[in-house]
Amino acid sequence: MSAIPFQGHRNFRIRLVLATLAGKPIKITKIRSDDLNPGLRDHEVSFLRLLEAVTNGSIIKISYTGTTIEYSPGIIIGGSLTHNCPPTKPVGYFIEPMLYLAPFSKTKFSIVFKGITSSKEDAGLEAIKWGLLPVMEKFGVREAALHTLKRGAPPNGGGEVHLKVDHLIPQPLTMHALEMPKIAAIRGVAYCTRVSPSIVNRMIDAARGVLRGVGVEVNITADVWRGENSGKSPGFGLTLVAESKKGWRFIAEDIGGPGEVPEDIGVKVAYELLEEISKSAVVGRNQLQLALCYMVIGKEDIGRLLLNKEQIDENMIYLLRDIKKLFGTEVYFKDDDNENCLVATVKGVGFTNSSKKIA
């Protein structure tokens, strides 16, 4: 079977993950070939190692310059292991793609990730716990949990989290989500490590001030980490979750960067949550990739998901093209009664967990 060609460093993780699920070899060329520092980054190589560890029989070839890789996937075996994440990316960068593989593994996933636990670009712990795991639950993956053993703010990290997915399923359920969920409450976690506990209250007050107008219950928990479990660097962050009664959730999060005060973060995350709600239908933009991929690898049946027209952006088109290249499946968009919305319909490819074939 000849390798499916891809170019560039875009969607690096999801391409490898989808190739693993599809069982098709891929070849990615021109990875940062025009860059002053060409080729794969530390975290990308680290991700390849992780992928190799959770699969059996994968073959990964990296060219001398690191601008080309060939990946021939094996089967997903999972297991218990520890992964040390490089300081360039937080643990969320590595956990997120594992969520696509874990339910379809031969043995249960139980991986301890060590390193930085938060960043401005990648999924934080609460975003995974309250944003991504609930989406998986909608597709029939229960008993997935992320335990925070230690928090580790950037730049020095020192955090430790445990991802456990105990539910192995043959394939995800077919999704029919055509109704806009109503948000019943806004929850959140404001956390800090190695800084004054008053910081979390300042974030909470600022966020509440913005969200007071929407008229639902706002409940933000203060989570102050002290001592050995709080990592090597001072830091703070806020994750807000808007949840519906049916279990759909929208999330927004950020962490304090250099020169930012807690009030800024509180206000910013609150506004971003409102923005995310206004631009989404059933799932937020950061959950869309997971939801669409699970729909694609579902049963050979039509799944439907209500989308906001605002959610159709460049990233989504890149994702849909990658899906088509690997699975040959196209997502069709139908107009909805609500003129701001579209219904994405996709026929599952009839993927089956290779270790569950006898049934």
Binding site: G215, L274, E275, D313, L320, K334
Partner: protein, 100 residues
């Protein structure tokens, strides 16, 4: 009516037209939303495009989506805008809703 049928067909077509940059595809789709009677043949003219070659340092594999800066968001979510968003919440909203 004809327009709406064509529009939805176009989105799927635009998305899966390899060689059309996603940004360009989006622009075309959004423009059609605004101007109903756009000449489709114009779209075909710039069908062949040069692939993006500029070196990109940007991280193209992140979780957090793009947001406008705080100032823009603050201006967007005025009291009225939040009021309009209330239909998405189970709250003391203007129209009473029964569905869960």
């Amino acid at each position: 009516l004809r327009g709406s049928a064509q529009r939805k067909w176009n989105l799927s077509k635009l998305i899966y037209t390899e060689g059309l940059e996603p940004g360009e595809a989006l622009r075309k789709w959004k423009q059609e939303e605004e101007e109903e009677e756009e000449n489709i043949e114009d779209d075909e003219d710039d069908f062949f495009q040069k692939k993006e070659t500029a070196a990109s340092n940007a991280d193209l594999d992140t979780f957090v989506p793009f947001f406008d800066d705080l100032q823009t968001l603050k201006e967007k979510f005025t009291t009225e805008a939040i009021e309009a968003l209330k239909s998405r919440f189970f709250a003391v909203s203007k129209k009473p809703s029964g569905e869960a």
